[in-house]
Symmetry: C2
């Protein structure tokens, strides 16, 4: 296929995903009708379903796209940073993947078939988290008395709690220090990293930003 067509296809696909994302976030999966998807993307149903077999495929492509972007943040900065982004972007500018993520959570609860299809896709976030933690352990930043698998599950459980918390519309402005606790609890223990004297002098707090889950 000539280069120009490929670029065109990719751009069109991008246009559909971006419009669909807004549409799913605003109306939910069920409420995102074909007519609304047309409005949101500025394209006809023919054009949309030329690129994606059906609404389900479109939604899964979107969720996969978001999972990949989250995995990229995890690879660079860790899963706790994904949570911090989520916090700092609520209110006026919610992280654009929050809507998709909430919809994924809801459908996982109510739709066993979706659960199976999603399982493969969600794997990449877990993989990225595990890889990041392994790298941190090798760098000596991670606690070494708990397995990488347990720490990965721990961080994923907190992320799920955070998504649920935000979905329920509970106040989130006091959660930054909670994420500090989370981050610190996967880090190398202070008792091992520092002497008692270091601890009393407060050195450990200055280390906060360079270690652990980030």
């Amino acid at each position: 296929m000539p280069r120009v067509s490929q670029d065109h296809l990719a751009a069109r696909r991008r246009q559909i995903l971006d419009g669909a994302r807004m549409c799913f976030t605003r109306y939910g999966y069920e409420g995102a009708t074909v007519r609304r998807l047309e409005e949101a993307t500025g394209l006809s149903r023919g054009a949309i379903f030329h690129h994606f077999r059906d609404k389900e495929s479109l939604f899964l492509a979107l969720a996969e796209d978001d999972a990949r972007r989250m995995a990229d943040v995890v690879a660079e900065q860790g899963l706790v940073q994904v949570m911090r982004d989520l916090l700092s972007s609520t209110g006026e500018h919610p992280a654009d993947w929050l809507g998709t993520r909430l919809e994924v959570s809801r459908r996982l609860r109510t739709d066993p078939e979706f659960r199976a299809r999603w399982a493969e896709r969600s794997q990449q976030l877990t993989t990225a988290t595990r890889k990041r933690l392994l790298w941190q352990r090798e760098a000596g930043n991670l606690r070494d008395d708990v397995s990488i698998d347990v720490l990965t599950s721990y961080l994923e459980l907190v992320l799920e709690g955070l998504v649920s918390h935000l979905a329920m519309g509970l106040p989130a402005d006091d959660l930054e220090p909670v994420l500090d606790v989370v981050e610190e609890s996967v880090r190398r223990h202070r008792g091992r990293a520092a002497t008692a004297a270091d601890e009393r002098s407060g050195t450990e707090n200055e280390e906060q930003n360079i270690s652990g889950a980030r």
Copy 2:
């Protein structure tokens, strides 16, 4: 009111709550029709709505009842124990309040009016958690570098993640060690509680069950 009538009323109320709990767990709030509530409680709609104004009031009474029982466990054993109970009772014998709790989570997400009514009731779990943590701090079991409010929010966030995790039907058999990490992260730091030599000898692990969030 004579004693016998009071006992009778309390027993009848209990009968309705127990039946309704099964009904809501099985069919969800919307699916728990009056006919199904009659079947589940073995009582007529007249008898049911003599005790509770409407379905909404019945559900709230149930949620409140469960919140009180959770608060009792928190007072005795801490919020992490509530989570452990939740884990150990999934599968064949789910904790009987899980159904209600899931329904509460769902309605909080979708029903702003319910959110307001629930806010007052959910306060008692927060209060019980805070009180327990204060008591643990006074006993010297709790870390003292993070405020009680932050630790309370942290534990509640993890609980919400766990409820969400179970609601999505994700595997829970590997979460016990994750809760160990959670419990340990609110406890007094090892670096402060024990010398490096104690740590190497593993003394800290033997302390696991007597301290922290339990």
